[in-house]
Symmetry: C2
């Protein structure tokens, strides 16, 4: 495909995308296909000679779309929101064209520098403590990770390295393995599986701390666990939490605050209190690619001390090196630069070497919405979840299972898990809306998550009418 | 931005991208900026009210482009190629619009299923052993990872889990830490830093095995290391290699073959022999996002036994669960499905939970180029590297430092490292072309990597003339 054909096909694709977004409400939110549906529809190997673009674009509706779960349909209330906005899509087109791999400052200075400034912009929107920003030329800074899972893992590994160094400095005879055997990380028993996975990968124990009535980690329970484990000779070194717990007695603990979904809301002053105490954290992470209109992937992570990350990962093969480490001289030109506040090498902040120019998406979105536009977007979603909550509360057959603070409503039919499983099954078989369940302790609960950028009150109302009808059927069937 | 504005702005962006690609040769390949150049050019916080799209698009040339290293310029011969093609960019636009997060089959069936089939297509292009493909409903399969670093890490973690389970089954009294202390992974002393990082993250020892004259791992040296380490009570469990070594005596070893860059060439029959022996590997990985025209990120990984991966990572929170594990019944509807050959959950194959619909890029590229078009592309690059090699060989002042097999030429001035460092510095200060160095053992070497999709013989000739001129200056300066 030459450039002039790209001009033509690119514009056709823009229209295809615009039509898709405009018509998404008319598509069934969850597909009808059965597992294995796709393989028989396409050849079993790649063509030797090129297909035409027309062939491919026709196959999108024939082969791909019938198997798509439409995450951006206003009837999608499942899992969690995943961000989608036109400014982010435009930025991604530019990102693909520039196509640099920004692992170091020299590999594409704009890529590293815009990321540093955008992370400061975002940090200020959240009113993060200054220690997390780069602009003050302090020790902290922000980086875009691919996902909250990676951010949690990176934080845990940094904490592990720090703990091992500290303990070996005090007792040089200790082996890494002897230390790792005793390291314990903690998270809430309601935490995302990413913490469990980080512990598994890092080869350390992970303990789940009982949560309170709001399903948040109970500070007193954490304190008890720390004391018990220390008394047993274990070494607490890391706690990952959605909110702040136990800032005291943390001198040797790494505190990671993970607000993957909720973090976006903290740009609104009325929700910022949920982040209070972040000043005690060593690292903080949330996903603009969930709720802040920046398409996947864009997980924002800040640390107070960036040398903690780079210390855990730093490896310098010559072909990626930009500093003459054996020369004390001022570097002669840009490609040979030592790291510093203005020219970090993000390769040392993350697990992959490669990285896209993802800060372009933040730049486009923040500028084209403005802070006020982003706040309005968050508020609209929160208002819709409260609207759904009040609908549920008006129906005595149903109950709300957790306090509704942001865009998620956990609800269920009063009664058995079985009747709720039956209701969910009817909902997802009807495919007019899409929901997924969760367990809150031993209760099977339906999650109604406000997800789509285009969801409005009318969609929420229609969803509730539909749920009520199906609930009546389920309750009827139960009585029979 | 509403949909009708997106139609307009999207088409403008298509033209911007097309203009950028068309004019890239005229841009200086490496930027003039100094560290910290960008921050003073933009506000220190996000705007409260929206900026216009015009503001932003104007700022691209004013603020971003002056700091971009143009990886797709035909004068970019640095680092390694990163793929860029129009079909991949078109697919990425569609991927952004669908915007599903395909962590499980149900989360978007098309996303999982197309990936499975595309990994089979690609596996067949490479003539991978059938055991790695999914179509035979065997135990193997392919998955798209974000980077080779992640693939190496995932393989190492799977191997670690397997080794721990095996050893604990034999000796239940062994703790995980006691085993990990003895585990040893091996890679070539010329290997990519990703292996070292994987060992660091996984908390296991990594030993570098001396390489041979072609900078490949020496099989006999590996064998000696294995015997020595086993005799010392250590437990060899993982070897990562660019080519096949020591298939014998591997019963308890995981063999990971990493051909991040070279792998793309194996679609050409004349280069396929470089992959011989892959039938002994447990996992194989290469990056179509390097040299197979599929834009970053797309790292292709295959395993012979997918349960080895899922065994290392499997964690099942309710809200992501699609199987009624306590029920032996046939699932009642699609969202509750056990894993199987047709409905894998790729979340258990990788570190992040989230994942984009990246197989669309493979589908577009494979179909719009056809296998023959892809082969022609590889062959053109290899031919250009040989052309450069022969230019170097014609000049008695220079030497070739490693056998040229694919698209990379390692060369240097005969003489000291200092004179070569001076030459590289002149090259990168002149900024007509861009190169980076490497060390081959104790020699400072210049790497000339054929990178750009649009590089032609004329660019290579011009680059060589330029290098020769600068070399004359350097040698002159040395004599003075």
């Amino acid at each position: 495909m030459n450039t002039s054909e790209f001009r033509r096909r690119g514009k056709e694709m823009v229209d295809y995308v615009a039509n898709y977004m405009e018509g998404i409400e008319g598509r069934q939110v969850y597909p009808d296909v059965e597992p294995g549906y796709l393989r028989p529809l396409i050849p079993d190997s790649a063509p030797q000679e090129p297909d035409t673009f027309e062939d491919i674009i026709n196959d999108i509706e024939k082969i791909i779309m019938p198997g798509v779960t439409h995450w951006h349909s206003p009837y999608f209330f499942a899992y969690f929101p995943t961000a989608s906005s036109y400014p982010a899509m435009l930025a991604d087109m530019l990102c693909g064209a520039i196509g640099c791999i920004g692992f170091s400052w020299a590999a594409s200075p704009a890529c590293t520098e815009l990321e540093t400034v955008m992370m400061d912009w975002l940090g200020k929107m959240l009113e993060l403590p200054k220690a997390f920003l780069t602009e003050n030329a302090g020790e902290g800074g922000g980086v875009i990770q691919g996902s909250a899972s990676e951010a949690t893992l990176v934080a845990l590994l940094a904490a592990r390295t720090k703990a091992i160094h500290r303990l070996q400095a005090a007792s040089p005879e200790l082996t890494q393995a002897a230390i790792m055997e005793k390291l314990v990380a903690y998270s809430s028993d309601q935490a995302h599986s990413s913490v469990e996975r980080a512990g598994l990968i890092g080869g350390v124990k992970l303990k789940a701390i009982p949560s309170d009535g709001n399903f948040a980690m109970r500070a007193s329970a954490l304190q008890e666990a720390l004391e018990r484990d220390r008394a047993a000779g274990l070494i607490p070194f890391f706690v990952s939490s959605a909110a702040l717990v136990a800032p005291g007695n943390k001198e040797d603990m790494w505190l990671h605050v993970d607000a993957a979904y909720a973090g976006s809301a903290f740009i609104c002053p009325e929700f910022r209190h949920l982040l209070n105490g972040v000043e005690f954290a060593d690292s903080f992470n949330f996903n603009p690619h969930k709720w802040l209109l920046v398409n996947f992937d864009c997980s924002a992570m800040w640390v107070k001390k960036r040398s903690d990350l780079t210390g855990a990962f730093r490896l310098d093969p010559t072909y990626l090196k930009h500093s003459h480490q054996d020369s004390g001289k001022k570097p002669a030109f840009n490609i040979f630069l030592t790291d510093g506040p203005f020219h970090v090498s993000f390769q040392h902040w993350q697990i992959p070497l490669g990285r896209r120019f993802r800060s372009l998406k933040m730049w486009f979105v923040f500028r084209m919405y403005g802070v006020k536009g982003l706040q309005a977007y968050i508020r609209k979603h929160v208002q819709l979840s409260h609207e759904f909550e009040s609908l549920v509360l008006q129906d005595p057959r149903f109950e709300i299972c957790a306090e509704v603070t942001l865009g998620l409503v956990c609800f269920r039919l009063k009664g058995s898990n079985k009747v709720n499983e039956a209701l969910l099954q009817r909902i997802n078989s009807a495919k007019k809306i899409h929901l997924v369940p969760c367990h809150l302790r031993d209760k099977f609960v339906l999650r109604f998550a406000i997800c789509s950028r285009t969801v409005e009150s009318a969609h929420v109302q229609r969803a509730w009418e539909h749920i009520k009808e199906l609930a009546a059927d389920v309750l009827q069937a139960e009585r029979e």
